[in-house]
Each structure stands twice: as C-alpha cells, then as structure tokens.
C-alpha cells in the first residue's frame, strides 16, 4: 500500500514537472511587463514580433515560447481588447472567445468584450459574446458578470430573463444597489409598473457608505420622484426628492423637482425653500438655470411681484452672461483650442485626466460639457483621438530611425566592400585545408573502429618500425631470388628482424590501440575547436554581409507603409477631432438654445411681474385712497355732529 502511494505520488509529481515550462520566455514576459503598465501598444507589438520570429523557426519546439504559445496567442487578443481593438472580424475576438487557456482567464476577457459592446450600444454583439461564457468564472467578476448579463438582456428587451437573473443577485453585496435598480428598470420595461415602483422605492432606501451605491440610491429616488410627477402625484413625489442627498450628483435635479412638486401642490412657500438653495449653486448647471426662472415664478404666485421682478432681472443678467460664455466657448472650439487643451501631456499622465478636464484653464467650455464628458461615446472618441495622436508621434520618430538605419548601412557597405575579396581568398584556402584534414581524421577514426572487430597490428606500427619493415621487405625481395651462398643466412636474419618488430607490435598492440584512441580523442577536441572557430568565422562573415545587404527593399517598403499610415492617421485625427468638436458644439448649442428659451420666458415674466407689481401698487394706492376717503368721511361725520352740536 505504502509502495502504491509512493508510486502515485511520483507519477503525479512527474506530471506536474513535465507540464511546467523549463524556462520562462523572457520576451513574452517583457511584453507582460508593458501590459501591466497599461502600455498595450508596446505589449502587442512585442508579442507580434516574438510570434513572427517563432513561426519562422525550423524547430519551434526548442524555443522557450513553445511552452507559452497558447498564452501568448490569447494575450495578444486580450491586449488588443484593452487597446480598444474589438472589431468583430479581429483576432481579439477569436482569441478571447476561442483561446486555448484556462476558463477563468478566457471568461474574464469575454466579460470585458461584452462590456465594451454593451457600452458601445451594440446589444446583439454583447448578447452573443456573453452567451459564449461557459465554465469557471473568476470570483472577482462573478456578480458583475450576472449584472452585466441582466443589463444586456434589458438592452435586448429580454425583460423576463433580466428579472429572473437580477432577482437572484438582488441582495449580493458585490452589486449592492445596482442589481436592485436594474431590477426596477426591468419590471417597468416588462410593463409591471407597480412592481417597478415598489422596487425603486426599495432601492431608494438602501443603506451604504459606498459613494457609488449612494449615487444609485439617489438615482432611484430621482427616477421615482419624476415618474410620480409624470403621473400627477406630486404629494408622493416630494418624499422621494427629499430622500436625495444635498451633496450628491443628483442633488440639483432633486432640489428642482422638489420645488416643482411643491408648486404643483400650490405650496409656494415650500417650493421657495429648495429653490433658494439651488439658485445659489453653479449657474452653468441646467437645473440652476431653470430655477432662476422658477424662483421668481413662485414669488409671483405669492404675489410678491417686486421681489419676483428683481429675480427675473437677475435671471436675465445671468442668462446673458452665460450666453456670452457659451458663444466664447463655441468660438474657442471652432478655433481648435479645446482639442489643443485636452491633448496636453500633463493632463493625460494623470489617472483622473477626465475629471481634471473640468478645470482646464484655457477651455471654460468644459464646465458646460460635464454631461457630454461622462458619455461613453465622447470618452471613446477622446481616447481614440489620444491614440491617434500617439500613433502620429510614433510614426514620426520611426521615420527618423529608418533614416539612421540607411546611414548605418551605407557606412557598413563602404567599410566591408573593399575587405571582402581578400578575405574570401583566405577563407577559400583555409576551407580546402580544413576539408582535407577532416577527411584524414575520418579515415583514421574508421580504421580504429574497424580494428575493434578485426585487429590489424600493422596499422599500429610506429614510423621507425614501418621504415625498418619497408627496408627489410626490399632486402628480402633482393635475396629471395639470389644465388648468393649466404642468402639462407641473410634470410634467416631478415626473418628474425621481422619477427622482433612484429613481436613488439603484437605484444604492445593493446597499449598502442589505447594510445591511438586517446590521440584520436585529443584530435577530436582540436577538431571541435576548429569547427567552432570555423562556424564563428562563417557567421561573422555572414553577419558582416547581412549587416548591409538585403535591407534596401525592406526599408523602402517600410517607409512607404509609414507614409501611407501617417497620411491616414492625419486624416483620421482631423476627422476624430472634428467629431469631438462637433459633439461639444452640439452640446453647447443645445444648452444655448435652452438658455435662449429661458431668456424669452424671463423677459415676458419680467414684464408681467412689473405689470402685476404696478397693478398691485395701483390697487394698493386705490385701496389706500379709498380707505383714506372713507376714513375722512367717518372722521368728518362726528365732527359734523360736533359742529352741529356745537351749533
């Protein structure tokens, strides 16, 4: 049993060890380094370059990226998503939806993709994407994913599905407020208005210290308040407007609504209270501009015409000032000052650059654009503008690089060209000598390996022994056919001599064979060194050649591509900039039109207030006159009596 456990443990351990990559891929990790700093362009471009080289390899499985290939292929799509490259046919979509990575990683990216589609008001794409999320989901987005799915259902008019999903997460702390609010919207969308109102009421009572949740609570109360106003139930609406915090993002609209609700109830004094607070706030706000007209209207209802006339006068002055400001802003935008101000580096480096746009010193129009700045279309357009601006700068700097490369290539060519012919000649000589020596070595190695099977002592004869044997052979030949009487004696001596030499060779055969093998090993070592030097030489020669040859076409093509890209970027930059300016101007024009309407109303109301004030004054005077006369008459009568009496 114990043995089994050991074997099982070993098997498991081996599997883990086998699955783990031997080395980290430094270039892929470098791409991650940029991605973690949100420099997605650099990250994508580095992985692209690395993958390009990897796919050009003869044996890619020997490269360290081999172990990270799936991750790299997925990451490239993932980073493209972060870089807002989510085109339907793009590789980001393919990688994110079909990537061969862990479920949690893929689903996290798919969630982000669905969110982008949802924000860009492409509900069908968003639905298709979110429906492809299967398997394990990362804990951090578990509830956010459900909320997003429900919101996508709402966008696609699938209210029943949204209600079912939102009901299941309504009380989850991670989506506190949001699920509840969206559930109310889903009920209203599903024509279950009563349930929707109850749900909004419930959302409007959520207790939290989170600013975002408090904002959604305020929003629920505001929506409910205005809904009740629409349904002509102002007495109920007041309660919801009063629930909204006075320092929250919806406070201005709440104060305005509260006043209108009181006014509808003919509680004019009650309407004045919130409106007076609102009237003191920033006049660029639409609700504040509305209340400048509402406040004197309430005073008018209270028949305080003088005060009303003064306030209408103030409103007219404020409107004129704001119209002037708006005209200046529109002029500034048309002159390109707005874009000049927003693309400044110092603003973009700040994490809160979008919020800081409110305080751009040279662009007063941004105060009026807060609502627009908060919209997804504007933000995305602005980010695109920034990206294009960055791309333009990159292309411009790369153009300089290519000029430098051309210069380097020219210098290298001038240096190497005269050196090559001499170097080539020497190399040819060295190459032929090396080939000869390698052939010799091979012959010796073959012989030694054959001698292991069939010993050949003669192959191991030393030089002096070989010379002696040669000499003996020639003497032997000479005396073989000789009639010399001493030939028998000489032949015997020759045999003895041959015998001595062969004896030595035979008896020392093992030692000599070992010695020969050792020498061959030593030779192999030298040969290896020689080969390395040879390879280095070949590679250096190749590197020298490659350092200036074969770049002209590539550089020319790159230059062309860069020129086309630059022209296109400039065009798109102008179009994107124009679009942003148009969005801003449209917004400002809309606000301008509204102020003009308010101005006309204010003028009429001012005149009317004067009339009423004058009329009231006249009435008072008439009344006073009448009263005076009456008093006079009553005063006179006793006097008359007195006079009469006196008489």
């Amino acid at each position: 049993m114990f043995q089994r456990i050991i074997i099982l443990t070993f098997v498991c351990f081996s599997a883990i060890t086998f699955a783990a990559p031997a080395n980290k891929d430094l270039f892929f990790s470098e791409a991650l380094y940029y991605a973690y700093q949100e420099k997605y362009f650099d990250a994508i471009s580095k992985i692209d370059a690395e993958l390009g080289q990897y796919y050009g390899l003869d044996e890619p499985e020997l490269n360290s990226l081999y172990f990270y290939l799936n991750q790299a292929e997925f990451s490239i799509g993932d980073f493209e998503l972060y870089y807002r490259m989510h085109k339907r046919a793009g590789r980001a979509i393919k990688s994110v939806l079909e990537g061969n990575v862990k479920d949690t990683v893929r689903n996290d990216a798919a969630y982000r993709l669905a969110k982008i589609y949802h924000q860009k008001q492409q509900p069908i794409n968003a639905l298709h994407t979110i429906q492809r999320i299967k398997g394990e989901v990362p804990d951090k987005i578990k509830y956010d994913l459900k909320l997003l799915k429900a919101q996508i259902f709402i966008s696609n008019n699938m209210f029943s599905d949204a209600i079912e999903l939102l009901s299941s997460i309504e009380n989850a702390p991670a989506v506190d407020g949001y699920a509840s609010y969206n559930l109310a919207i889903a009920y209203i969308g599903n024509n279950e208005t009563t349930k929707g109102i109850i749900q909004l009421d419930k959302t409007g009572l959520i207790n939290s210290s989170d600013k975002a949740v408090l904002a959604i609570r305020d929003k629920a109360n505001l929506v409910l308040g205005y809904k009740l106003m629409e349904n002509k139930q102002p007495e109920r609406a007041i309660k919801y407007f009063e629930r909204i915090r006075l320092d929250g993002p919806f406070s201005n609209r709440a104060l305005l609504g509260s006043g209108w609700a009181a006014l509808a109830e003919k509680k004019y004094k009650k309407a004045i209270v919130p409106w007076r607070i609102l009237a003191k706030r920033n006049v660029t706000n639409q609700s504040v501009q509305e209340v400048l007209l509402g406040l004197p209207f309430a005073y008018g209802k209270l028949e305080v015409y003088g005060k009303a006339a003064i306030l209408y006068g103030n409103a007219l002055a404020a409107y004129s000032k704001e119209l002037k400001k708006l005209d200046d802003s529109i002029k500034n935008i048309r002159e390109g000052k707005f874009l000049e101000a927003v693309v400044r580096e110092e603003y973009r480096k700040d994490k809160n650059w979008l919020i800081n746009l409110r305080n751009l010193p040279d662009a007063p129009e941004t105060h009026y654009l807060m609502q627009l700045l908060a919209s997804n279309d504007f933000q995305e357009s602005l980010k695109n503008y920034f990206d294009l601006d960055d791309l333009e700068k990159k292309i411009s700097s790369w153009d300089g690089y290519l000029d430098s490369y051309t210069e380097i290539i020219k210098h290298r060519k001038n240096y190497y060209t005269p050196l090559f012919p001499g170097m080539q000649e020497k190399f040819r000589l060295l190459d032929s000598r090396m080939k000869l020596r390698l052939a010799q070595r091979k012959k010796i190695a073959d012989r030694l390996s054959k001698m292991l099977i069939a010993p050949r002592p003669d192959y191991l004869a030393k030089v002096d022994e070989r010379l002696a044997l040669n000499k003996i052979h020639s003497i032997e030949k000479k005396y073989k056919s000789s009639s010399n009487p001493n030939s028998a004696k000489i032949t015997a001596r020759i045999k003895r001599l041959k015998g001595v030499i062969n004896w030595n060779i035979e008896t020392e055969y093992q030692e000599r064979f070992t010695e020969a093998d050792k020498n061959l090993q030593l030779l192999n070592k030298h040969i290896d060194e020689l080969k390395t030097r040879y390879r280095t030489f070949v590679r250096t020669r190749q590197a020298a050649t490659q350092s200036y040859m074969g770049y002209d076409d590539q550089i020319a093509q790159l230059k062309n591509r860069m020129r086309f890209a630059d022209e296109k970027i400039k065009l798109l930059l102008a179009r994107q900039g124009h679009m942003l300016e148009l969005m801003s101007i449209n917004e400002l024009e809309k606000r301008r039109k509204r102020i003009e309407e308010l101005q006309i109303k204010a003028r009429f109301s001012l005149a009317e207030s004067y009339d009423r004030a004058v009329k009231k004054q006249q009435n008072i005077e008439l009344e006073q006159e009448k009263n005076g006369r009456l008093k006079k008459e009553t005063d006179i009568k006793p006097d008359d009596k007195k006079v009469t009496g006196d008489k």
Partner: protein
C-alpha cells in the same frame, strides 16, 4: 463672368464651415470612424513589429547581441529603486524605477534593461542595486562572469530579498 464665378466660389467657401459645424452625428458615423481607427492601429502595430525585427537584425546581430533582463518575482516586501550595470567595468545602464514599473515587475513582468553588442568569450557583469526592504533602504552588489557564444546572449537578473538577493540566470 469671372466676377460671378468668384462670388459663387466665395459663397460656397462661406457655406462649407457652416454646414460642417451644423452637422448632426449619427451612431453609424461614430462606429465607422471607430473601426477606421482600429484598422490604422492594426497597420501601425504591424509596422512596429517589423521595425523591431529589423532593428534587432541590423543593430544587434545574434553573433554579438547581449540582452539583460530584470525580474523581481512577486515579492511584496522588496522593491528596487535603481539598478546600475557594468560590463567589463564599463557602465552600460543606470535605471531608476517608477511605481508602475515596480508593480509590473511584481506581477511577473520582466524588463529588458539593456541590449547591446559584445565580443565572443568571457565578460564580467557587475550589478549594483539600491532598493527598499520593508521600510529601510538596501544597497547590494554582485559580480558574475558570463560567456558569450555564437548565438544571442540572454541574461536574466533576478532581484529579491533573502540570501540570494541578486541572482543570474544565464540562458
């Protein structure tokens, strides 16, 4: 005739900006432009990748290329402030880290701190690191011998706390 033409062109020129500024934006226009921006991003990314390969081939051929990488792992208690690197006694890099870069290193990113050219054979690599361990400042140095062969030389410098504060992984 010429006068009429001039007046007519003048009128058109006057009208162009007006029509330009008064246009209403549609969702399709916004989407269309967004997609064109995505297309140009794709083109520029392709140029960038090719340029990187060209740069490497041209400026740092494999026979002489050396690349030094810095990693820290996910150790939270240690963060490098600055790194100085010398090859054969010659200063090749002095780098000061930003908060974002330290965070990227901690999350597993690896920084290519230096790419250059050296001759084949042995070389001395001197590394000095100033960092923070908990709240206190630390200064560390280490020296290694690296061997440059035919192929590109990749060296990972692992920074961290503990006994092996600076570790070299010769790839």
């Amino acid at each position: 005739m010429n006068k009429i033409q001039t007046v007519f062109i003048g009128l058109i020129l006057l009208l162009i900006p007006l029509s330009c500024w008064s246009a209403e934006l549609t969702r399709e226009q916004i989407k269309g432009l967004d997609e064109q921006v995505q297309d140009i991003k794709k083109d520029v990314l392709a140029i960038s990748a090719e340029l990187q390969t060209l740069e490497e081939k041209l400026l740092y051929p494999s026979t002489s290329q050396i690349s030094l990488f810095v990693s820290t792992g996910n150790e939270q208690s240690y963060s490098p402030d600055a790194v100085q690197i010398k090859i054969d006694g010659k200063k090749v890099m002095h780098y000061i880290y930003s908060f974002k870069e330290i965070d990227a290193l901690r999350r597993g990113g690896v920084q290519r701190i230096f790419t250059g050219n050296i001759l084949g054979g042995n070389h001395t690599l001197d590394i000095r690191v100033i960092g923070r361990m908990g709240g206190s400042k630390t200064k560390r140095k280490a020296s290694y011998t690296i061997k440059k062969g035919i192929g590109p030389k990749l060296v990972e410098i692992k920074l961290g706390s503990g006994s092996s504060a600076i570790k070299i992984v010769d790839q």
